[in-house]
């Protein structure tokens, strides 16, 4: 009797609070210090509208979180909103009708005009309908350099990848790891991608990654890429950390000279209180090719039977892309905003560099947008094998070309 009374009271309280504010559960994999600070900006903005943000952070990288998110959606227990990378990851979920159509919100907010570059919105579009909200642009082709490490070795901070490679023996002599690298396939793949664009140049990269031309992947320019990657492998030999933010921490503390990592590393530097130009510097496109890819994060809204939740999902979608939220979120995250019409003058030097490249049109589609998750995993496996063993560069190149040849 007592228990049932309690249960009824609890139900009454829950339903009463649900009537006044909608609780939306949002899943994402932003769990490092800088990332958590950024997602808090979304939560604050959403809570300020009188609704409730239920944080569903999933620890681990996207590779851990995505299967959980997808199996929840497929299993009939969808969250209200979820982070995914825009690209081909959600393609089949959309085709199966499991994602909410946001076209009316997008038309009301005039997304077609404001989203820059427009390719971001194209990645959210299937058959003319829009299914996701891009929230930021992340690019992977950045080299982060530690001023402390170079000071200790008595060298000037390099201004491009070639100078960095030349400075590596001196760094090693000073007892520093030249290149910090987390021993995970996706990080090694990211480093490889950044080296590819810097060494092989844009045309060959596009021919291989977008057009899946295996002959170019077998060619000379890619042989140079694999040779450069094999050199980088030697530089990272003594770096035995796992997670990317541990590797970034080696750079922040001056134990390592540099790291190849996406612009999200910026968030870790600012959480640690490091100042750009003084404690660290950044080289977009490795200082060789000032081109950035435009991958990034987007929010998808799984279809829900409850009209109240559906209305709230659309409200949240509009909020995520609104100017104020875009500014506060991207400043904390270290990523670039998806709209070109907002004031980012408070951003620091690295982000300004990125914004400048974006404004000049030095952009290319990200790997997520061109390759399926299957092909990405195969390449990551190859990279994990290549970086941790003594596999010769030409053998890795042959295997890589085979994967590209069978990619769809």
């Amino acid at each position: 009797m007592k228990l049932s009374t309690k249960l009824m009271a609890a139900t009454a309280i829950v339903s009463a609070s649900a009537a006044s504010a909608v609780e939306l559960e949002v899943t994402h994999w932003w769990t490092s210090g800088g990332e958590a600070a950024a997602v808090a900006k979304f939560a604050e903005a959403w809570n300020a509208t009188g609704n409730t943000w239920v944080d569903g952070a999933i620890a681990g990288s996207g590779g851990t979180a995505r299967p959980i998110i997808i199996s929840r959606i497929l299993g009939g227990d969808p969250m209200a909103a979820t982070q995914l990378n825009h690209g081909r990851q959600a393609e089949e979920l959309i085709e199966a009708g499991l994602m909410l159509d946001l076209t009316d919100v997008a038309e009301a907010g005039n997304w077609r005009e404001i989203v820059n570059p427009p390719s971001l919105l194209d990645s959210c579009t299937l058959d003319g309908r829009i299914y996701c909200v891009p929230v930021n642009i992340h690019s992977a082709q950045w080299l982060w350099l530690s001023h402390d490490a170079y000071e200790a070795a008595g060298l000037d901070v390099p201004t491009d990848w070639n100078e960095f490679v030349a400075s590596a023996p001196a760094l090693e002599a000073a007892g520093t790891i030249p290149l910090a690298m987390g021993q995970q396939g996706w990080q090694q793949n990211l480093a490889f991608g950044a080296i590819t664009i810097a060494v092989a140049g844009l045309d060959d990269w596009r021919e291989v990654t977008v057009n899946k031309n295996a002959d170019v992947a077998r060619g000379e320019s890619y042989a140079a890429v694999f040779q450069a990657a094999a050199d980088a492998r030697e530089l990272a030999r003594n770096s035995n950390v796992q997670d990317w933010n541990q590797a970034t921490n080696l750079v922040i503390t001056g134990q390592a000279g540099a790291q190849l990592m996406g612009d999200w590393a910026q968030g870790e530097f600012s959480v640690a209180g490091a100042v750009e130009g003084q404690d660290y510097s950044c080289l977009p496109g490795l200082g060789l090719n000032e081109i950035l890819d435009t991958g990034g994060d987007a929010f998808y809204f799984p279809v829900n039977d409850d009209p109240e939740i559906t209305a709230a999902q659309k409200e949240l979608a509009a909020l995520l892309i609104s100017p104020e939220v875009q500014v506060s979120f991207n400043l904390a995250k270290g990523s670039l905003p998806v709209r070109g019409d907002i004031d980012m003058s408070t951003a620091n030097g690295c982000m300004q560099k990125g914004l400048g490249i974006l404004a000049d049109g030095g952009i290319l589609p990200s790997g997520d947008q061109s390759l399926s998750a299957d092909t990405q995993t195969q390449i990551e496996d190859l990279m994990a094998q290549f970086w941790s063993s003594d596999m010769p560069a030409d053998e890795a190149q042959a295997k890589y070309a085979d994967i590209i040849a069978s990619a769809d």
Binding site: G63, R66, Q183, Q184, D374, T377, A384, S388
Partner: protein, 309 residues
């Protein structure tokens, strides 16, 4: 039954018997219906479904687009799968031999009527109470060169001591093996001990009268008598080996590189991370095949032989 010559009499006789056999222990049979249905639908049905879909090109969602043996060709052409199989073979052989050896030796020692036997038994069995994730993390720390064994030995003054299996691709499987055996041998010890306790004291007395040494008695007399116990242990260890997954995820994450990948991890990652169900199903079907290849000859010898004998 074979003595009855007239088929009609035989059918009448068995017809009269059959209902009584069918309705014998009726409540027990009804009670086991849910389990029978579960076994049929979930195990047999699920297995068949998986095998059928391994011949399709299903990606994130299952699709009935049959492509023949393509997934299998790709599977056996993939380095990672080959590495996984080799790793599992190394782990499997070592784990099988060492677990049995350590389990039996510990049990035999405890059986010598030592003092504080129950305390030792508890200590040896304790690791089994931990999940593989906890075991994996604990051993990851113990084997970490900066905090673990290597550091401790170096702080004692042996500066050149190096023991760093988890960062060395050549011996990483042995790092996993240490953790696996640490966890698994306690249970095998308990099973062996129960088996040893089942041996009649008269056997020991007889051996003593005949002047056979203790170790020789164990090897020549006791171990052959414990055949059923050994078979139980083998099945337990083998099933643990084939499904090796959580230990790897917790301890090494498959690294460094691909050097500690195992088949179960390949299945999970291709099904969910690479969103390629067909490839994952093909890999899990191969895992099923490997179990069947081992199981059928064994079952034939074990059960088929008994009937004839």
């Amino acid at each position: 039954m074979s003595v009855v010559d007239d088929p009609a009499t035989a059918s009448v006789a068995s017809g009269a018997k059959r209902p009584s056999r069918l309705f014998k222990n009726l409540s027990a049979k009804i009670a086991s219906i849910p389990m029978i249905l579960t076994a049929l639908c979930v195990f047999v049905g699920g297995t068949t479904w998986t095998v059928v879909y391994s011949f399709t090109n299903s990606r994130m969602l299952p699709r009935e687009n049959f492509v023949g043996l393509d997934q299998y060709e790709r599977l056996w052409g993939t380095d990672r799968w080959i590495i996984s199989i080799k790793n599992l073979a190394v782990y499997g052989v070592c784990s099988m031999i060492l677990t049995l050896l350590i389990g039996f030796t510990l049990a035999a020692c405890l059986d010598r009527k030592i003092r504080f036997e129950s305390a030792f038994r508890t200590i040896f069995l304790y690791p089994f109470a931990l999940s593989f994730v906890v075991t994996g993390l604990a051993w990851q720390w113990i084997l970490n060169p900066d905090f673990g064994i290597q550091n401790v030995v170096r702080s004692w003054g042996w500066e050149s001591f190096a023991f760093d299996p988890l960062n060395n691709p050549d011996i990483v499987m042995f790092g996993l093996l240490i953790a696996g055996i640490w966890q698994g041998s306690g249970l095998i010890m308990c099973i062996m001990l129960a088996g040893l306790r089942g041996i009649d004291d008269d056997i020991w007395k007889a051996a003593k009268v005949d002047g056979i040494g203790t170790i020789k008695t164990y090897i020549v007399v006791i171990i052959p008598m414990m055949r059923p116990v050994f078979i139980t242990s083998l099945v337990l260890i083998a099933s643990g080996i084939i499904k090796l997954y959580d230990l790897v995820v917790a301890q090494t994450g498959g690294g460094p590189g691909l050097s500690s990948e195992v088949p179960a991890k390949y299945v999970i990652e291709y099904m969910f991370r690479a969103q390629n169900l067909g490839q994952g199903f093909a890999a899990s079907t191969m895992m099923l095949c490997s179990v069947v290849v081992i199981l059928i000859p064994w079952a034939y010898l074990e059960f088929g032989g008994k009937k004839r004998g």
